[in-house]
């Protein structure tokens, strides 16, 4: 049997301190600028920076976009629908932690 070489791979955490540009975001999520703009306008992702050239996204935005893309593909949800689902998922998460009271 051939013993495969196991390369050690560095993992990048998609957290709040990770910053990516629009182009990097597009490349990671395999989407185009127009789709990014649509999601920003829908309030799904919220970049730092004043102009589109200066936009910087953080790691959670990547995860959010991936969820939106899957919901669109699998359930034929439109963008506003996906935004509602994301909000509700966040709320459920908070409720589970017991942070939102009555």
């Amino acid at each position: 049997m051939i013993q495969e070489k196991h390369l050690k791979v560095e993992a990048i955490v998609l957290n709040r301190s990770l910053r990516v540009t629009v182009d990097e975001l597009c490349e990671m999520c395999r989407i185009n600028r127009e789709e990014v703009i649509g999601m920003v306008e829908e309030g799904i992702i919220d970049p730092l920076g004043n102009s589109r050239q200066e936009w910087r996204f953080h790691g959670y935005d990547i995860k959010k976009i991936q969820v939106v893309l899957r919901l669109q593909r699998d359930l034929k949800v439109n963008l506003p629908g996906a935004a509602v689902i994301l909000d509700l998922l966040d709320e459920i998460e908070e409720l589970k932690k017991g942070r939102i009271k009555g």
Binding site: E4, H6, L7, K8, V9, E10, A11, I12, V13, L14, N15, S17, M28, R30, I31, G59, I62, K63, Q66, V67, L69, R70, L71, R73, D74, L75, I85, L89, E93, K97
Partner: protein
């Protein structure tokens, strides 16, 4: 190969019409979508539902499937009769290249080379393109996040043979460096560790969702960790310095006098590392000695007499 009861999977009767099949599929897909349903079984269920619909939604495939015979049930050992699909027409080329090919053996064997797969995965699957992005989950221990650790993970990756177009799976083993301070629910990205590209396309990326194994002592809340620490009545009443576990060791913890069960003490910076570091919260839990002998009972009676109290005085009667 095990038989798959697609009607059972979609929770429909064998004589359901196409409209009913679609409706049931949509309903179940919403319910079990892995981004919506956090149950660990949801993803597998979602894939089964998708596979069943893939066959039953196409009348020709459904007819071929029905033709396999009645009386077969889920999981039953099964060999397809020769030429079982003869006489059924399928449109489109073979299903295969570039799908999210997590289908059962049954599906691959029976339907893998029949009429085309629907437009799923148009992003990743098109000809010139980038390999598919893969998603996986790993369970790590809290300590792995605290110290950082390298873990070996093995994933079943599905690949397409560039020459024949056939799909095969092979184990994909990686040593993943778990970054210090990673938290539950976070997604990590391993560039270039996803599916192989087509043509000149680069490899896709691998995304891993991190979950924590339950810890015997600590609970986790974001970056903070919580510990219930049992103390004696005299430690709580008089104050004391006791040893308390923290991630990666233990510290001497000063318990202020007059503490009660539920008192929360903060150990700054002793939570999950980051910017800023999380904290550890120690919640005191006063444990009283058992009154299981005469001497102890006498002692409690003496306490009742000498230091009477009514802990329910504010409760109103």
């Amino acid at each position: 190969m095990q038989f798959k009861d697609y009607y059972h999977t979609l929770d429909i009767k064998k004589d359901s019409n196409q409209e009913e099949i679609k409706r049931s599929y949509r309903k179940l897909a919403r319910k079990y979508h892995p981004d919506v349903n956090k149950d660990p079984e949801a993803e597998a269920r979602f894939k089964e539902i998708g596979e069943a619909y893939e066959v039953l939604k196409v009348p020709e495939k459904r007819a071929a499937y029905d033709n396999l015979g009645s009386g077969l049930h889920e999981g039953q050992e099964f060999r397809p009769p020769p030429n079982w699909d003869a006489g059924f027409e399928f449109s489109g080329g073979p299903a295969g290249a570039g799908g999210n090919a997590d289908y059962s053996d049954f599906f691959e064997e029976m339907f893998g080379n029949l009429g085309g797969r629907s437009g799923q995965d148009h992003r990743a699957g098109t000809f010139s393109a980038h390999g598919e992005d893969h998603h996986a989950k790993i369970a790590i221990n809290l300590e792995d996040s605290f110290h950082g650790n390298t873990m070996t993970i093995t994933l079943q990756s599905t690949e397409v043979d560039q020459k024949t177009g056939n799909i095969y799976t092979r184990p994909h083993t990686l040593n993943v460096k778990i970054p210090k301070g990673v938290r539950e629910g976070q997604r990590i990205r391993l560039p270039g560790q996803g599916g192989v590209g087509y043509g000149q396309g680069n490899k896709g990326d691998l995304y891993i969702d991190v979950v924590f194994n339950p810890h015997p002592l600590f609970k986790v809340d974001g970056r903070d960790i919580l510990l219930d620490l049992p103390v004696t009545p005299w430690e709580a009443a008089l104050g004391a310095t006791v040893s308390s576990p923290v991630l990666g060791g233990s510290v001497d913890l000063k318990i202020p006098p007059d503490s009660q069960t539920g008192r929360k003490l903060r150990l700054k910076g002793k939570g999950i590392p980051g910017k800023p570091h999380g904290d550890q919260y120690v919640v005191l839990k006063v444990v009283i000695p058992k009154a299981d002998n005469e001497k102890a009972k006498e002692f409690y009676k003496k306490m009742a007499k000498e230091m009477p109290m009514d802990p329910r005085s504010t409760m109103g009667r």
